[in-house]
């Protein structure tokens, strides 16, 4: 530590400062892009300009940018989508957060452990059905249903993980898909009149939920809060938990497994147990999202368990960028936004109808928007399968920052 042949001129403080964020980023997700940002970005010139306190602040923001980002997301998502130029209604914001949690749980497996689960809908469904069955069939409180659903999902994930986690990525993808299909079949058979078969379960409204004109409100002890904020609280807790898992030594081991499993094992990482643990956690987290969905949708739909739900999770995560913490969240946002925006074309069509020129009827084409998304997905996978929209945005920001810096630097010189 004392003799450092390479760089005697580098002050210790500077070293650790650079380090903190960049290694944090590493733990979290952020691929070389981060270190590039830090190296190529203003880090080099800033220390001279900024005082020690603001530098510490910058480093603190860097270190905690995921929690900060999550809070910002939760605060602004609903107002944003409610804008008339956006979707025009806020109800979808809660659904978005639920899906974000679901897809983030999927990405704990795929993006951070390297296991592609093509059947993640089953865990989502365990949560949903757990709550729906408990509330609608047995009149149990919501929490009991949620606990049962989440526990079941964890146990199922653990046992299934023990069975299939060590069979290689491809096996894992095929087997999760097949098992999820089996779960779907079971739910469809309506065993003991529990799952309601293809009709699913409806009317799951706990006593503390009030709905009026499509707006769902939580009423607890005289306190009345919009359902969105209840979802937001759970989302925030879970997402922060996920973030903590990823930055912990445990998360570092997961990333090592993703990067090179054979090497990790050769270096003494019990990859099987880590993968099982990751699968279990991921399943539990998906079930939490599912439990919320049961309230949002006031029931459980069979499609929640279907292949398409699992597939959507894969699509959203890859679309958003599986290498980043915010990637899947961005993917969900883009996806659900596009779905609503494109399929409910009337929303846009109405104000535009007056202009004769704009009345090109796109609705026929946009009805098949999944075709376009499928194509976009293929292109993303071929070009850069792990970056997605979020990676693209990051690259863009980095490039803009670099250009800005160059311009700023130039003006300063002048």
């Amino acid at each position: 530590m004392t003799d450092r042949p390479g760089r005697p001129d580098r002050p210790e403080a500077d070293d650790s400062d650079r380090f903190g964020p960049s290694t944090d980023g590493g733990e979290r997700t952020d691929e070389p892009a981060v270190s590039r940002t830090h190296e190529g970005g203003p880090a080099g010139s800033e220390p001279d300009v900024l005082s020690g306190r603001s530098r510490r602040l910058v480093s603190l923001i860097g270190r905690y940018r995921v929690p900060i980002g999550l809070i910002v997301l939760v605060l602004f998502l609903r107002p944003l989508v409610s804008q008339p130029w956006a979707l025009g209604f806020g109800r979808i914001a809660a659904t978005m957060l639920i899906w974000m949690l679901f897809v983030a749980s999927f990405n704990l497996l795929f993006g951070f452990t390297g296991l592609l689960s093509f059947g993640h809908a089953m865990f989502f469904g365990f949560g949903t059905y757990g709550v729906a069955i408990a509330v609608s069939r047995f009149s149990l409180p919501f929490v009991a249903g949620a606990v049962v659903g989440i526990t079941f999902a964890s146990a199922f994930g653990y046992l299934l993980g023990r069975l299939i986690v060590n069979k290689g990525e491809i096996y894992f993808a095929m087997l999760t898909l097949a098992v999820a299909q089996a779960v779907y079949f079971v739910a469809n058979r309506n065993p003991y009149e529990l799952t309601g078969g293809s009709n699913g379960i409806t009317g799951t409204v706990p006593p503390w939920i009030e709905t009026y004109r499509g707006e769902t409100t939580v009423v607890l002890g005289g306190l009345s809060v919009d359902w969105y904020w209840a979802v937001a609280a759970v989302f925030l807790i879970c997402a922060l938990g996920l973030w903590q898992v990823l930055r912990s030594p445990f998360g570092r081991s997961l990333i090592a497994i993703r990067e090179n499993e054979a090497l990790a094992r050769a270096m003494g990482v019990d990859t099987e147990r880590y993968k099982i643990a990751s699968f279990t956690m991921s399943g539990a987290l998906a079930a939490v999202a599912g439990a919320l969905l049961a309230i949002s949708d006031q029931g459980a739909a069979l499609e929640t368990l279907g292949v398409l739900t699992s597939g959507d999770a894969v699509l959203m995560a890859v679309l958003g960028g599986v290498n980043y913490f915010f990637g899947p969240l961005a993917g969900v946002f883009v996806w659900l936004f596009a779905e609503d925006y494109l399929t409910d074309f009337e929303v846009l069509y109405f104000p535009l109808r007056e202009f004769v020129l704009v009345s090109v009827d796109l609705s026929g084409v946009l009805e098949y928007w999944r075709f376009l998304l499928g194509g976009l997905f293929v292109v993303i996978v071929l070009l850069s399968p792990k970056d997605g929209v979020w990676g693209f945005l990051r690259g863009l920001v980095t490039r803009v920052a670099r250009v800005g810096e160059r311009l700023g630097g130039g003006s300063r010189e002048r």
Partner: protein, 395 residues
């Protein structure tokens, strides 16, 4: 494409490093190999292993395979056979009817799974879009027969060719870029292609279920003594068997199959020997797509078609390939038949058992849909690599 798979390589070089880089294991094994190319019995075991490709005869191989099972596994097999015999005795008509049903179903599954296993074994790509190609076969046949008024026979030839061409385009435009990548990337890309094809089908033919008539020659029934069986069902079995055997022979017996298999083992060496490998891979892909197309036509003629069939059958094909063992064509064929029969016979066996023991609780109607998955889970618990899986394949 992992290491141990490569141990059957027969070309004496160390050029497999590219493939071995992932786990760094087993490299040396590749190199201790003989140069006696085609006649080496070990070639066939990884891909394209089958009754015809290896020198020991089928009965010998079967005996060796059976000897490799543990007593418990043999016992379970015997119990299942005994139960099937019981069911046959109790309800012979139903049993034979369902047996043929299982055979039809199994053959269709084999036709989907075979192309999947072929592409997976030879090129290391899991083609999720294979179910979509199967579905495309059905819809194109519908277009030919019901819309354009061509005969069923023309559709049976033309639709698979059309599907093959779609597969060709797919391979050239997308999959060719994925051969050097992790298998998961291929799975994702083909998943995207599935969505596109499904959406396209929905746009062209709509979401409602469709069907077309079968030719009059085949619309009768044949009396099998205990029951009547539709001629077309037997035709499906026959046509499927012919296609499967043809693909088999092509891969295991011909120069073409040999070079493709060699290329899988050692791309550089094959390129060195002047084999145009991309062309042969493309041809293989065409073949896999076309045979899925044949399956689609037959399935549609018998059962009709819907937009859900792509997902449904790709999942079943996955199940079949997993049960058969990744990397084994022979395993996929056998597993397809096994899954098909299990799906159709399990309800009969349960029903017979219920009436024989007077325990109504055993008669689980509607168990059928989940049987393939139960078979899969049981096989995985008992033989983790599937029936004929290779150690280390894609692990």
């Amino acid at each position: 494409m992992n290491t141990d798979t490569d141990t059957n390589a027969k070309i004496d070089t160390d050029a497999n490093l590219r493939r071995d880089s992932k786990a760094g294991t087993g490299t040396d094994a590749n190199a201790i190999v003989r140069t006696d190319g085609g006649t080496d019995p070990s070639i066939g075991t990884t891909v394209g292993s089958g009754p015809s490709s290896s020198s020991p005869s089928l009965p010998e191989r079967a005996r060796a395979w059976l000897a490799g099972l543990s007593p418990v596994q043999q016992g379970v097999g015997l119990v299942i056979c005994a139960l099937a015999a019981l069911a046959f005795v109790v309800q012979p008509g139903l049993f034979v009817d369902q047996f043929v049903g299982g055979l039809v179903y199994g053959m269709i599954l084999v036709m989907v799974a075979l192309g999947l296993a072929l592409v997976l074994g030879l090129m290391g790509v899991v083609n999720f879009a294979h179910g979509a190609l199967f579905m495309l076969g059905a819809y194109v046949a519908y277009q030919f027969v019901a819309v354009l008024g061509l005969s069923f026979w023309a559709a049976l030839v033309l639709a698979p060719l059309a599907v093959g061409v779609v597969g060709l385009v797919m391979e050239i435009m997308v999959l060719r870029r994925l051969y050097d990548q992790e298998p998961v990337i291929g799975l994702l890309a083909t998943f995207g292609l599935t969505l596109m094809i499904e959406e396209l089908v929905r746009a062209i033919w709509g979401a409602a279920p469709l069907g077309f008539p079968i030719p009059a020659v085949l619309s009768g029934a044949i009396d099998l003594g205990v029951t009547q069986v539709g001629t077309f069902r037997l035709f499906i079995v026959g046509a499927a068997a012919v296609s499967v055997l043809a693909v088999y022979a092509l891969i295991s017996r011909t120069e073409f199959g040999l070079t493709v298999r060699a290329g899988v083992q050692d791309a550089e060496m094959s390129a060195f020997l002047g084999v145009n490998l991309p062309l042969r891979f493309t041809a293989t892909f065409f073949l896999g797509a076309a045979i899925a197309g044949v399956g689609g036509v037959l399935q549609a003629a018998q059962f009709g078609m819907g937009t859900g069939m792509a997902q449904q059958f790709i999942i079943l094909a996955f199940v079949v390939v997993v049960v058969g063992g990744l990397g084994s064509l022979f395993g996929s064929v056998l597993a397809g038949l096994l899954v098909g029969e299990a799906t159709y016979l399990t309800p009969v066996i349960l029903n017979s058992l219920a009436s024989a023991t007077n325990l109504a609780i055993l008669d689980l109607q509607g168990v059928r849909g989940i049987v393939p998955f139960l078979v899969m889970i049981v096989v995985l618990l008992v033989r983790p690599r599937g029936l004929f899986g290779e150690e280390g394949f894609l692990e």
